[in-house]
Symmetry: C2
Subunit: 352 residues, 2 copies
């Protein structure tokens, strides 16, 4: 049985929503859990869920909460006590070294020692990355792990890699990101021969900064192994012009956060306009279910979490704001990555 | 009288929409025009407008076209014949040197020789930048000109600089962008003591790539002259957390195009959902005026064009897709920049 280690203490809504989401996922996907964190708090949360017979969630549609039945006694979980927590904003390197009994370090250890097959963490992204990298090590041939993010488009979602692990990168690293992203796209998202593009500011080969130009060249040279479709501009990523878009973590993180910010702004402005008169308010009420469906299509909670690709183990980083529904989906992502053997596929690719 | 030179041949809808928008602006803002391009084509467009007594435009709201009366005989315009056109995708440097009789080169010349006070161009952005830089030269103390873009937010619009002129930049250049952006914000947008931020991937000082970190340091050191508010993340730019956000042209261009792409995707998904059943279609019809108002608030046509700051003259680069309404607003932007003496204010700032 696949077992997923959960940093039960990480995230804005830990431990309640983390434990709830993990149990929900365990029941839905038939995975086992290693819940890592303060034992008494985790036990208390489980007890609450057992008593209530389930949890409440809006299922990511911003709507009314509905009850999800959870039969705790049929779930295969263990608890690993960890007395410390790495807080948001702590100096990551130091915290990882000093807080050996922190939930994130011990959750990674659960994977490293073979107890679990993957980890899900919603706390400090920096801490999760560092703990995964130090605790699991890199895959052979990979210079730096990178964050693979699922981005909504007008058609099916695509993968953006790197979403923020490496704010500085080389072209060779971008090529590795391409390989990791394409492997994930093919084996987990089941995209046949995924199209890979380099994020750039124009279609032409000579466009862009030195990094983008060199990455373009490297990927073009390896067209036997990579289905390279050239430069992808910022607006094209939403038009499904490729399946994997590659960039350094600085550009990737800006792109992700701009997407989030622009989307929130649009929803806000539309709500504001609809509140401007009575007719608008009525239309706003009627339009709500439709807007919810749009929201659901672009909502990070649906995608659950980002995979840190390139480490020797499956590590899923969830949004700090994650509630149960997002955590459930993050566990799904981790489970799928484990089932499909993403890491061994990457290794096969790299080692030819 | 202020006179604006117009590259009448540049853009997807040239010359008809360019000439129409220029005349509209001339009438509304009382500026003179130097229409540069193929004389017979420009004359034919003007004749059409004279006969019709005006033009038709949707005024940027995607709605029905309405007639705008234009009294051609009361407009102060001249025509400068240019036999060539630089097409999209031409190798810019070469084209600028070879096509001396192109509309963009001659429109810039109209500013350089004092005939006009500023230029508006909707053709190839690369050609407009290169022609402006070579034809007008740099302001003293400015290493590289940069594109200042007006970005919508939940409150008032902010300036992003650089929007794509320099895909590679140094921290010193970013500091100059900050100065130029703040000057524009203060003197044209009338923002008192504009808040300047550096685009980054986290709030903390130690976050980001070397460029962002060094720019942070430089701007912090000059807090006497620059109202520096620190790092700004991609989603925060839409929350009006600063008035000017500084980045290199690669990151800036990605951010702009992602904004455009994410917004278009959202509108598309909402329309798609509303088309899914009869009730949705009715709600969609009723919601149209509200959606149009949102669209208007984020529509590039409202902002008209981007200023290329740092050259010795006012140069406004309009979107290649610009129709009359966008061109009219681009001329407004050029006129305001001329009236407020943006360039002399920048020089005063730089020279202390």
């Amino acid at each position: 049985m696949t077992r997923i280690a959960i940093d039960a203490m990480g995230g804005d809504h830990a431990p309640a929503e983390i434990v709830a989401g993990a149990l929900w996922a365990a029941q839905d996907y038939g995975v086992g859990l290693d819940l890592v964190g303060k034992e008494d708090e985790i036990k208390a949360e489980i007890e609450k869920i057992r008593k209530a017979g389930g949890i409440y969630s809006d299922c990511g549609n911003r709507g009314r909460q509905r009850k999800i039945k959870i039969d705790v006694d049929n779930i295969d979980y263990m608890i690993t006590h960890a007395s410390e927590v790495i807080e948001m904003g702590e100096a990551v390197g130091q915290a990882i070294r000093k807080k050996k009994d922190s939930s994130i370090v011990k959750a990674v250890k659960s994977v490293a020692d073979g107890t679990s097959d993957g980890i899900v963490a919603a706390g400090s992204t920096g801490a999760a990355m560092a703990a995964s990298l130090f605790g699991l090590g890199r895959l052979k041939g990979i210079t730096r792990p990178a964050i693979a993010v699922t981005l909504p488009t007008v058609e099916k979602p695509i993968i953006l890699i790197d979403g923020g692990a490496n704010s500085d990168a080389t072209a060779q690293m971008l090529k590795q990101f391409a390989i990791m992203g394409a492997t994930y796209s093919k084996h987990v998202l089941e995209i046949d021969n995924p199209r890979v593009g380099v994020m750039n500011i124009g279609e032409e080969v000579e466009k862009g900064n030195p990094l983008a130009k060199e990455a373009h060249k490297l990927l073009e040279e390896d067209s036997e192994n990579i289905n390279f479709v050239g430069n992808i501009e910022g607006k094209e990523i939403f038009l499904s012009k490729c399946d994997v878009v590659v960039c350094d973590g600085f550009v990737g993180n800006v792109a992700l956060k701009v997407t989030e910010g622009a989307s929130s702004m649009l929803f806000y402005l539309l709500q504001q306009e609809l509140k401007s008169d009575i007719l608008g308010m009525i239309i706003g009420l009627l339009a709500k279910p439709f807007m919810r469906r749009v929201y659901k299509r672009i909502n990070y909670e649906e995608f659950g979490g980002c995979l840190l690709l390139g480490v020797r183990g499956i590590s899923v980083i969830a949004h700090g704001r994650s509630r149960a529904y997002a955590i459930k989906n993050a566990v799904r992502v981790a489970n799928e990555a484990v089932q499909r053997g993403v890491n061994s596929k990457i290794s096969e690719f790299i080692e030819g």
